[in-house]
């Protein structure tokens, strides 16, 4: 019987999934994720519907909540775009994490040594500092790849660790440590260096606009410019680019610079838009989440923004959900993971289809 069914029906990979199949697959993924998460809620002793409702209320229920969601989404947009740019070129920059640190650190260094200037001077300095810090740190991995053929997956992961210790060195009884403080953090930064708030009653800061602008810019670069052309081409066939006269080593470094610069900005928005201090906790974790955001967003800038907002909402709504239902907020990480796994599986499953075969 089983043999019959195997002989008659077969699962095979499609060359290209049809949009309808994608839609169905993703819908099924979402449904599956919701069911599993609901079961987790039940296990945690919370009513799933109530939990989902307070999750929604906490993330979009008010202007303040929406603003907070966007605040949480801001760094994820940047790191998501960073991953998007690199992955489009098939360069596996796993180092957004470290580049966020580098961006924040470079920005802090520049602003710290600048002295007192009006916001009009200081804000551009921190933004440029973030771009430079993240970009250069990523370019280091690019250089290791092109000059010493050190795989970028490896080098970026290593660099992620190194920078954390460098920051700790600078903060803990180091030159940047807060006078008289024992915590690993700097003193509060100059008010004039902080990113202006956008909407009263929320914490939404200019960084969010920067992130949207970055998404538009990345979209333009990818679709309209020769550089974007090279990035897309590199993602499909690096060798053909090489054969046809593009300096692919330089391209790799440029892509890393761009990717790192975007990641670096995430560091700037967190330090100068949210925490007003440089400390590890302010910037940690966004790099890795950015990779997930980028994949969820299908490596498309618009998708990245959407996925980042979804993630921001989950992070933000979790607080209220926890307060209202008593579900541990740790569950939110599990929910994120389940959502992601179902999404990935759903997406991949669209590439399969059941086909009837027969023997004459």
């Amino acid at each position: 019987m089983t043999d019959f069914s195997i002989a008659e029906w077969r699962i095979e990979r499609r060359r290209e999934a049809r949009p309808a199949a994608r839609f169905i697959g993703l819908g099924a993924a979402l449904a599956g994720a919701i069911i599993v998460c609901g079961m987790l809620f039940l296990a945690a002793g919370a009513e799933p519907l109530k939990a989902f409702a307070s999750l929604a209320k906490g993330s979009f229920g008010s202007l303040r909540a929406t603003g907070e969601t966007l605040v949480k989404a801001t760094p994820l947009i940047f790191t998501g775009l960073a991953a998007c740019v690199a992955f489009r070129a098939r360069i596996w920059n796993i180092g957004a994490e470290g580049q966020v640190f580098a961006g924040a650190m470079f920005a802090y260094w520049a602003q710290h040594n600048l002295g007192e200037f009006p916001a009009l001077v200081q804000i551009p300095v921190v933004v440029m500092g973030g771009i430079a810090g993240g970009g250069l740190y990523a370019a280091l991995a690019g250089l290791l790849k092109t000059r010493f053929s050190v795989d970028e997956v490896i080098s970026t992961v290593m660099l992620n660790y190194i920078i954390v210790y460098v920051l700790s060195l600078l903060l803990l009884r180091g030159p940047w440590s807060e006078a008289g403080g024992f915590f690993e953090q700097t003193a509060r930064v100059d008010r004039d260096a902080t990113l202006p708030m956008l909407i009263a009653g929320t914490r939404l800061h200019m960084g969010f606009l920067l992130a949207l602008a970055a998404a538009v810019l990345v979209h333009l670069i990818l679709t309209r410019t020769p550089l974007g052309y090279e990035i897309r081409a590199a993602g499909s066939n690096l060798r053909a680019l090489d054969v046809q006269g593009t300096n692919t080593r330089r391209l790799i470094i440029v892509v890393m610079l761009l990717s790192g610069a975007l990641a670096g900005l995430a560091g700037v928005t967190e330090v100068y838009g949210v925490h007003y201090r440089l400390k590890a906790g302010a910037v940690a974790g966004y790099g890795y989440s950015g990779i997930i955001v980028a994949i969820l967003g299908q490596l498309h800038p618009v998708g990245v923004v959407a996925a980042a907002i979804l993630f921001g909402a989950l992070l933000n709504g979790a607080t209220l959900m926890q307060i209202e239902t008593g579900v541990p907020s740790a569950l939110i990480y599990a929910i994120q993971a389940i959502l992601l796994l179902f999404f990935l599986a759903g997406w991949a499953m669209c590439n399969f289809r059941l086909r009837r075969t027969g023997r004459v």
Partner: protein
């Protein structure tokens, strides 16, 4: 005892998406028979053998071995049914030894009984007169040596039906002869062989031939009953029009390309050995040779992708040294690589985008910081019309183009780029007759525009139809440069096999 066919295929159909690679194919292979499978590139030969080996699942059809229906879901099933296969492309682990490559996945249990495996390999080698050192790393062997590993690998499985997919493509004539000696012995042992080959001389040694054309079986014939021409006709579907030999051309102007003493080593092997030649303006210089004899390395050096160890070359008097493809292209050089999907096209980009590959920064295709979309689209439309590319439009993704159409995209781009020199490596490989004719016409047109052309092809017909002079490559050496009008297919064929002495005599 009614003799059952060793293999019987009934109505086998295999589709890749919309493409029908095998269409209702039925054939028999008898015990102890050498059965040839003949067909143009892309006719579906490899697909059929992959179905017989369980690598692909046919959509329809039945396969019987020794009268028993078999369901081949994986190579394991095929091996169990006594079918073995040498693949068109090597399936070896370079880091493993010969013995490990042969023995991996065989046997049972935890123990890898090296000594027993070695004894068995040596016994097979001895029985068939094959020379192999079991403990050498496969990566260190020559391509011919690797092919022997593949062959022993199949013999090691004890198969009663061997499928050999173009095994001689990488063998020297001498080695090919040895292979046929092995085949004779196998036949004597009652083992059946399904051989795929493009070489007519080899095909003619078989017992029967099945001819595939565009996935369909044209027919199975006894070899003794047919001539080469008959087979060719079956294969192509028409008599080949006599190659329209180009009348004039040849040395119209001064030398555009001059190559002096080019040498290169790769992995300890000398892949280019002191190559020197010149190509004049308006001349097509042909390069003959079995692939893998250094042509690819020559082209990689000439297009700036690789640096030669010794020697140099100049384009229109300008010395090219330590260059990059961009530098070479800037001299007005176009390059049609042999592997079009690997080196020539970016599969995920559209036709219009691929048409500006390498020139995408040029002011011609830009408007401010952006690519000039309208310009690109117009260029795409022009190319589609001018080169009659079958595609839905200039925004069609190149990965989905057929081989011939993909090649046309490359030609459109490179012909547009080449003002002085055009480097073409196997431009007609895998193309059908119509497309080949098209490429020939375009090359001649380009020549008549005064471009110097270097053309490498495995098809002597190409070379005789187009070139004024033909150089023959063998093991990295340019054995001889011959005047087209004063040589013959035979002479070049012998040179390609490395028989320099024959010519010298």
């Amino acid at each position: 005892m009614a003799s059952q066919p060793r293999l019987s295929v009934r109505g086998l159909t295999k589709r890749f998406g919309a493409l029908v690679a095998n269409d209702d194919v039925s054939l028999n292979v008898e015990p102890g028979e050498l059965h040839c499978l003949l067909g143009e590139n892309g006719a579906g030969k490899s697909t059929l053998s992959s179905c017989l080996y369980g690598l692909y699942q046919p959509d329809h059809g039945e396969i019987q071995v020794d009268g028993q229906p078999v369901h081949l879901r994986s190579p394991a099933d095929a091996l169990r049914a006594g079918i073995g296969m040498v693949h068109q492309h090597f399936v070896l682990v370079p880091g493993f030894t010969v013995l490990e490559n042969i023995a991996v996945g065989t046997g049972s249990g935890w123990r890898f009984d090296r000594a027993a495996a070695k004894a068995r390999v040596l016994a097979i080698c001895q029985a068939y007169g094959i020379e192999l050192e079991p403990d050498r790393a496969v990566g260190d062997l020559s391509v011919g040596g690797q092919q022997w590993v593949e062959i022993v690998k199949v013999l090691y499985t004890g198969a009663r039906l061997l499928i050999l997919d173009e095994p001689t493509a990488v063998l020297t004539p001498d080695e090919s002869r040895k292979l046929f000696a092995v085949i004779e012995r196998l036949k004597a042992d009652g083992i059946s062989i399904l051989l795929i080959s493009h070489k007519m001389a080899e095909v003619m040694q078989s017992d029967r031939v099945s001819v595939l054309r565009r996935g369909r079986l044209v027919g199975t014939v006894r070899t003794a009953d047919v001539t080469r021409d008959d087979l060719t006709t079956m294969m192509i579907g028409q008599r080949i029009a006599p190659a329209s030999r180009s009348s004039d051309g040849g040395g119209v102007g001064g030398a555009v390309l001059s190559v002096r003493g080019l040498s290169k080593e790769r992995q300890g092997r000398r892949v280019l050995d002191d190559i020197s030649f010149e190509v004049a303006q308006g001349e097509i210089f042909g390069i003959a040779g079995v692939s893998g004899n250094g042509q690819d390395d020559l082209f990689e050096c000439l297009c700036g992708l690789a640096a030669p160890d010794e020697g140099s070359f100049s384009v229109a008097g300008a010395e090219v040294r330590a260059s990059s493809p961009a530098d070479v292209a800037a001299l007005g050089v176009g390059y049609v690589p042999s592997d079009r999907f690997r080196d020539g096209l970016v599969g995920d980009l559209s036709i219009e985008e691929n048409l500006v590959l390498g020139q995408h920064w040029s002011a011609r295709w830009r408007r401010g910081p952006f690519l000039d979309r309208n310009g690109l689209e117009k260029n795409g439309r022009d190319a589609i019309a001018g080169y009659s590319i079958a595609a839905t439009g200039p925004d069609a993704i190149c990965r989905r183009l057929s081989g011939g159409n993909a090649q046309k995209v490359i030609l459109a781009r490179e012909f547009g780029k080449a003002d002085r020199l055009l480097l073409c490596n196997q431009p007609t490989r895998g193309l059908d007759v119509g497309a080949i004719g098209f490429v020939h016409r375009e090359l001649l047109r380009k020549r008549d525009e005064g471009c110097a052309i270097v053309l490498a092809s495995e098809e002597l017909d190409d070379l005789f139809a187009l070139c004024s002079r033909i150089g023959v490559f063998f093991r990295g050496r340019l054995l001889k440069v011959l005047d087209r009008d004063r040589t013959s297919h035979d002479e070049i064929g012998r040179l390609m096999a490395g028989q320099e002495s024959v010519v010298a005599a």
